[in-house]
Symmetry: C2
């Protein structure tokens, strides 16, 4: 058995420092780049439209992925598991991470974008889960207020379980966007029409509010219909991601 | 204005050590006690059937809650916010915590219990969220395998947002329980009958499997019907708590 041996460089201190700096939003925005952790996500990225600037992987990961053999145009570096984990945000990473360029125009949604509209969602786990839900239900866009947690936050990417490569996520001022759309606009409220008995137009836009304060007053004039997940018991509220799951299920039904 | 001044002791070192020890499951089980953090949860507990063994609160919290005035039978201690946070699991706690006795027979569900059955759910945030969903949809019981994360885990209690005081949560071997129930038993699978077009008997039992492995082989003989949340897009799976939310919404609908 003859096999082409490809050897990979190790990272310089400067490169390690650069990758670690991308944990912070400030540096992500300065460098227009973000880090994606985990072998599965790195594989998804290489098959997507994203521009991967650098891959760091374990010897095992790199050897078993033919894409990193001869002719690979992405700079590839080798690191052991401990070094990989120290570069990223999560405690364990037994495969790979990638540095990825932020798509240049991802901030502004096209005027005909439709899907979920998030008004100031704060928890990165919630945003990641909502992106995953949108992917499950084939809702093409998640349009976020500028105050919603950043889509390139490592916890958002992690919770989205790869769905960030398939759902268009935008951050844009919501009032101008909603004032120019031609889709119907619904919003989730504690007192509104019962989701189980309300026709929900598809395509359309459904606004989901902040985890504690709900939808902000400034957006109320744009909401044409208020919908509510019917409550049968005593919990005061549902978590924003769980509410999004129920809304999308009823929307597609 | 005359006001009865009640003065509160501060905690001894031994008491502080005892409370901190309850972060660990081993000591919770040894002491048959657990800690609940946050002023709202402490208030809910005092109004519930749980036996509260001790309350630690800030001066503001204790002064504004008449229950801690004269005649209060629960030992009450005063602490500042920093001390409170250092006793518990979460970084901030600006109000109170309580030490609570585990209900003695909570492990075994009655044979006619109905609701969600969790087979080896590992993430405390998921279990807490599922308890909150059960509460929202008035599903009375959550019956967990012994390998499911412990219901008195601080993150479970936190994520349940007070719903742990209203939903009966049991940990019990599932095969014997399922073999003795007279309710219909459904289970969630990736390949099963479409949840949108399947009548779901209420009361009944719906089994939800482990986050990565699904329902264990040993339980398959008890499942009378396999149900599936229809997928419209490309995400490989839904998070267990979001799946539970969609299942409960369709169940109650």
């Amino acid at each position: 058995m003859s096999q082409t041996q490809v050897s990979f460089s190790t990272l310089s201190k400067k490169q390690s420092k650069f990758i670690k700096s991308l944990r912070q939003k400030k540096y992500r925005q300065q460098e227009n780049a973000f880090v994606v952790e985990g072998g599965k996500n790195v594989g998804l990225l290489l098959a997507s439209d994203y521009t991967v600037q650098m891959v760091v992987g374990t010897a095992t990961f790199l050897e078993t992925h033919v894409a990193f053999g001869e002719g690979c145009t992405v700079p590839v570096y080798q690191a052991d598991e401990a070094a990989l984990a120290s570069l990223g945000t999560f405690n364990t990473n037994n495969a790979a991470l990638a540095v990825v360029a932020m798509p240049p125009d991802s901030a502004s949604p096209p005027s005909d974008a439709w899907g979920l509209v998030l008004d100031d969602i704060q928890d990165p786990g919630n945003l990641g889960a909502i992106i995953r839900i949108a992917d499950w239900y084939n809702i093409p866009s998640v349009i976020c207020s500028p105050t919603t947690v950043e889509r390139y936050n490592p916890k958002v990417l992690h919770a989205s379980m790869g769905s960030f490569t398939r759902v268009a996520v935008h951050h844009t001022p919501l009032a101008p966007f909603l004032s120019h759309t031609s889709w119907p606009i619904l919003g989730t409220f504690t007192m509104g029409d019962d989701l189980h008995h309300t026709p929900m137009p598809l395509p359309g836009l459904i606004v989901i509010g902040n985890e504690s304060r709900g939808i902000s007053t400034a957006l109320l004039p744009y909401i044409q219909q208020r919908i509510t997940i019917p409550r049968y018991g005593q919990a005061e509220s549902l978590n924003a991601a769980m509410a999004a799951a129920v809304v999308c299920d009823c929307w597609r039904r």
